[in-house]
Amino acid sequence: MVKVKNLYKRFGKVEVLKGINLELTGGKVSAILGPNGSGKTTLIKAVLGLVIPTSGEILVKGENVRKSWSYRKYIGYMPQIAVFPENLTLKELINMLIDIRKEGYNPNIKEEIVNGFKLEKYMDKKLKTLSGGTKQKVSALITFMFDPEIYFLDEPTVGLDPISSSFLKDKIREQVERGRLVVLTSHIMSEVEEIADDIVFLLEGQIYVQGKVEEIIQQAGERNLERAIAKLMEKSYNA
C-alpha cells in the first residue's frame, strides 16, 4: 500500500534520510524503530507530505504523493504531540474535521471510540482545558473515526492510562485484521512486541534491519524485543 523508493531528505547540511527503499502492505502492523535522530518521524512525515523529499519517490496506493494531497484521504495520522486550536470545543473540532474531510467518516466507529475513551463528557469543553492524556485520546479518535486504510501512529500510547492504552491496542489489532496497514513508532518495546508484526529498524537515515518481530528476536538470540533492539543499537554504536 505504501511504497518508498530511494528516498533522500536533507535539512540544510544534515542528511536525515539516505536512500530508503521500503514497501509496506496491508493487514500488518509495521513498527518503525531506531535511535533518536535516526529519521523515523521524517520518514512518516515524508509519506504524509509534511516533509518534502529532496529526491526519491513515494507511492501511496500507487499514487505519487509529490504535489498531490488527495491521497491523504486514505491516511489517518496521529502525531506525537496533539495540539488543537485552543478555543474550539471538542465537538467543534470533530465537526470541523468531518466537514473538511468527509470521506470515510464512520459514526459507529466514532461512537465506539468516544465510549471506549469515555470522551462524552468533554464534548462541550474547550480544547485548551483538556489534559495531555485526554488530548491523546482525542487525537486517536479523530484518526480512527475516518476509518482510513493506512494508519500512521507516532507514539500512540504515550500518556494514556492502562485501560485506554489496552483499548487503543485492541483497536489497532482490529484494523489489521480488517486488512488495514498500521505504521507506528514507539519507545516501549514490550508494546511493539505485543502488537507489531514487522519491524523496520532505521539507523542514521538508512534501513539497518527489517523483518518480522520473531525473526529479529531470534537472530539476535535474545529473550525479547527490547533486548534484541538494544543489542542492535549497541552494535551500531560500536560500528
Binding site: 504524509l48 494531497w69 491516511i75 495520522y77 502525531p79 486550536p85 478555543n87 473538511i100 500512521f152
Partner: protein
C-alpha cells in the same frame, strides 16, 4: 477552504487577544469622543494608532497565531487538504478577526456619539481612517505570516517582526527625510511622492493628513500631493499599492509555506 475558515473564526472570536484588541480601540475611541466630541481631533489621535499600533499588533499577534497553531497545521496537513487552503484560511481567519476588532472598536463609539458631535461629522475622514486601518491589518498580518513561515525559531520571528515594523514606521521616513535634505537642490516633489507611495504606512498617513493638515500642506510643495491624492488616479493608485503590499508578502509566504517541511 471556506469550511476551514468557518472554524478559524470560531477559534479567533474566542481568542482573548482579539477581545483585548477590540476593547482597547473601543475604550480609547469612546474616551476620545467623550472628551472632545470632534471627529477631526479623534482621528488625529487614532491616526497614530493606525500607523503604529495596528501594524505592531498585527505583526506580533500574527506571528503568535502562526507559531501557536504550528502543530495544528501539521494535523491539518495530514488531512486531504491542500496547503494553499490552509494558509489562506489561517490568514483570513487572523486578519479578518483583527480587522473586525479594530473596525468595531473605532466605529461603534463613532456611531454612538454621532448625534452629539460638534462640528463636521467628517464621514470621509473617518472612512479613510478605517480603510487605512483595515489595510494595515491585512498588510502586516501577511508580513507576520511570512515571517513565521520563514523563521522556525520564535525569537528570530519576533525580532524580524519588530524590524519590519521599525522599517515601515520609522526608518523609511528617516530615509525620505535624508533624501530630501541631501538632494535639496533638485526638484524633489515627484520622487518624494513616489517614495511615499511605496510605503503603505505613509499612504495611510498621507490620506489622513490631507484632510487634517490641509492648511499646511497647501503651502509650498504640498499642493502637488493634494493634487495627486485628490484625483481618482491618486485614489486608485493608493488603493492599488495597498493591495500590492498585501498580496506581495502573502504570496511570498504561501510560496515558502508550500515548500516548507513540518
Amino acid at each position: 477552504m471556506l469550511k476551514l475558515l468557518k472554524y478559524e473564526f470560531y477559534n479567533m472570536f474566542r481568542n482573548k487577544w482579539i477581545l483585548f484588541y477590540f476593547l482597547f480601540f473601543l475604550i480609547l475611541t469612546s474616551s476620545l469622543f467623550y472628551f472632545t466630541k470632534e471627529p477631526a481631533k479623534v482621528v488625529a489621535t487614532l491616526l497614530q494608532m493606525v500607523i503604529l499600533v495596528v501594524p505592531l499588533i498585527s505583526l506580533i499577534l500574527g506571528t503568535i497565531f502562526m507559531y501557536d497553531s504550528r502543530n495544528f497545521i501539521e494535523l491539518l496537513l495530514s488531512q486531504p487538504i491542500n496547503r494553499k487552503s490552509i494558509y489562506f484560511a489561517k490568514y483570513l481567519g487572523a486578519t479578518v478577526s483583527l480587522s473586525a476588532g479594530f473596525l468595531l472598536g473605532v466605529l461603534l463609539p463613532y456611531l454612538f456619539f454621532l448625534r452629539q458631535i460638534e462640528g463636521s461629522a467628517e464621514y470621509f475622514l473617518y472612512a479613510s481612517l478605517i480603510v487605512s486601518g483595515v489595510f494595515m491589518t491585512f498588510i502586516f498580518t501577511a508580513f507576520a505570516f511570512l515571517i513565521a513561515t520563514f523563521f522556525e525559531d520564535r525569537v528570530k520571528g519576533f525580532g524580524a517582526s519588530i524590524l519590519v515594523w521599525l522599517y515601515f514606521t520609522l526608518i523609511y521616513d528617516g530615509i525620505i527625510l535624508f533624501i530630501i535634505i541631501y538632494f535639496q537642490q533638485y526638484p524633489l516633489e515627484k520622487p518624494v511622492l513616489v517614495l511615499s507611495m511605496l510605503n503603505p504606512v505613509d499612504i495611510a498617513r498621507i490620506f489622513v493628513i490631507l484632510q487634517l493638515d490641509i492648511s499646511a500642506l497647501l503651502g509650498y510643495t504640498g499642493t502637488i500631493f493634494k493634487k495627486f491624492f485628490d484625483t481618482w488616479l491618486g485614489m486608485a493608485t493608493s488603493f492599488g499599492v495597498m493591495v500590492v503590499w498585501t498580496v506581495l508578502p502573502l504570496t511570498l509566504g504561501l510560496w515558502k509555506f508550500k515548500k516548507k517541511d513540518f
